[in-house]
C-alpha cells in the first residue's frame, strides 16, 4: 500500500469522526429544543450511515491520526463497540424517520458512546 493510500485511510476516518461530531452537535441541539426537529430524520440517518462506515474504515491495520495502537491490539473489543454503535444508531435513525424525538432523546446516551470509546482508543490532540 502506498503512503498516499494509507494517509487516505486515516483521512477517511478523520472525516467520519468529524461527521459524527457535526451531526451529534446538531442532534443535541434538536434534543435540547434549541433547533427545530425538521432535520431529525436527516441527522439521525446521517449518524447511522457514518456508524455503518466506521468499522470498514478501521479494519485496515493502518496506524496514524489519533487512533491508538490498541484499536488493533484489542480489535475484538473495538470492533464490538463499532458493531454496537452501528446497531444502536440504526435504531436511532428508525425513530428519527418517524419523527419520534422522545425515543431518540431517550436513546442518545446509550447509542452514542463517543467519550467511552475515545477514552480508551483515541490519543491526545497533536500539538500545533
Amino acid at each position: 500500500m502506498s503512503k498516499a493510500e494509507a494517509d487516505g485511510i486515516i483521512f477517511e476516518r478523520q472525516n467520519l469522526m468529524l461527521q459524527f461530531d457535526k451531526d451529534a452537535e446538531l442532534l443535541g441541539e434538536i434534543a435540547a429544543g434549541l433547533k427545530p426537529k425538521d432535520k431529525l430524520a436527516e441527522v439521525t440517518a446521517s449518524i447511522a450511515e457514518t456508524a455503518a462506515a466506521s468499522k470498514g474504515a478501521f479494519e485496515p491495520r493502518v496506524p496514524g491520526g489519533r487512533a491508538k495502537p490498541e484499536v488493533w491490539s484489542n480489535w475484538a473489543d473495538y470492533s464490538r463497540r463499532l458493531d454496537d454503535l452501528e446497531k444502536n444508531t440504526k435504531q436511532l435513525a428508525e425513530f428519527g424517520a418517524k419523527g419520534d424525538l422522545t425515543s431518540v432523546t431517550n436513546m442518545l446516551g446509550g447509542a452514542l458512546q463517543c467519550k467511552e470509546c475515545h477514552d480508551v482508543y483515541r490519543g491526545p490532540k497533536k500539538p500545533a
Binding site: K3, A4, G8, N15, K125
Partner: protein, 158 residues
C-alpha cells in the same frame, strides 16, 4: 466651513479623497469575499468527496454518481489555485483555518496543491476505467493528498 466656501483646489483634493475612498471600498471588502469563496469551494469539494466515498460503499456503485462527484473534485482541483490570494490569510477578526505558512512557504504549498490535482486526475482516469477496486484505491490516494496538505497548512479541527 461649507463646501461653497472651499477653494477650487481644495474642492478637487476633496473629490480625489472621496472617489479614492469609493474605489478602495471593494478592495477592503475583498479578503472576506476571498475567504468565503475558499470556504464554499472546500465545502463543495468535501461534499463531492463524501458522495464519492458513500457511492463506493454501496453494494453496487453507480458509475453516474462516481462520475458526477469526480467532475466536482476535478473542478475544485483547478479552482484551488485561485483560492489563496495574498491578503486572504489569518488576521484578527477573520475566521479561517488556513495557516499563515501557506503564504510564507509558497513553493511547498504549491507542490501539495499540484499533488492534489494529480491525484484528482488519476481518480478521473480510474472512474473512466470503471474498475471499482481501482477507483477505491485512487479515492484513498486522493484523500491522502488532502491529508498531507491539512497536516501542514490547516488548523486542526478537533
Amino acid at each position: 466651513m461649507t463646501i461653497d466656501r472651499l477653494k477650487p483646489a481644495k474642492l478637487r483634493a476633496l473629490a480625489v479623497i472621496v472617489f479614492a475612498g469609493i474605489a478602495a471600498a471593494p478592495l477592503l471588502a475583498a479578503p472576506a469575499d476571498q475567504i468565503r469563496t475558499r470556504i464554499d469551494g472546500y465545502r463543495d469539494l468535501g461534499a463531492a468527496f463524501k458522495t464519492l466515498n458513500d457511492g463506493l460503499r454501496a453494494p453496487s456503485p453507480q458509475p453516474a454518481v462516481l462520475r458526477a462527484a469526480t467532475q466536482r473534485i476535478r473542478a475544485a482541483a483547478s479552482h484551488q489555485y485561485g483560492w489563496y490570494p495574498a491578503g486572504s490569510g489569518p488576521r484578527p477578526g477573520v475566521k479561517t483555518a488556513a495557516k499563515p505558512e501557506i503564504w510564507t512557504q509558497g513553493p511547498r504549498f504549491r507542490q501539495l496543491q499540484d499533488g492534489f490535482a494529480a491525484q484528482a486526475g488519476a481518480l478521473e482516469r480510474a472512474v473512466g476505467g470503471g474498475n471499482v477496486a481501482a477507483i477505491r484505491t485512487a479515492a484513498r490516494s486522493l484523500g491522502g493528498s488532502c491529508k498531507a496538505c491539512h497536516d501542514q497548512f490547516r488548523v486542526e479541527k478537533n
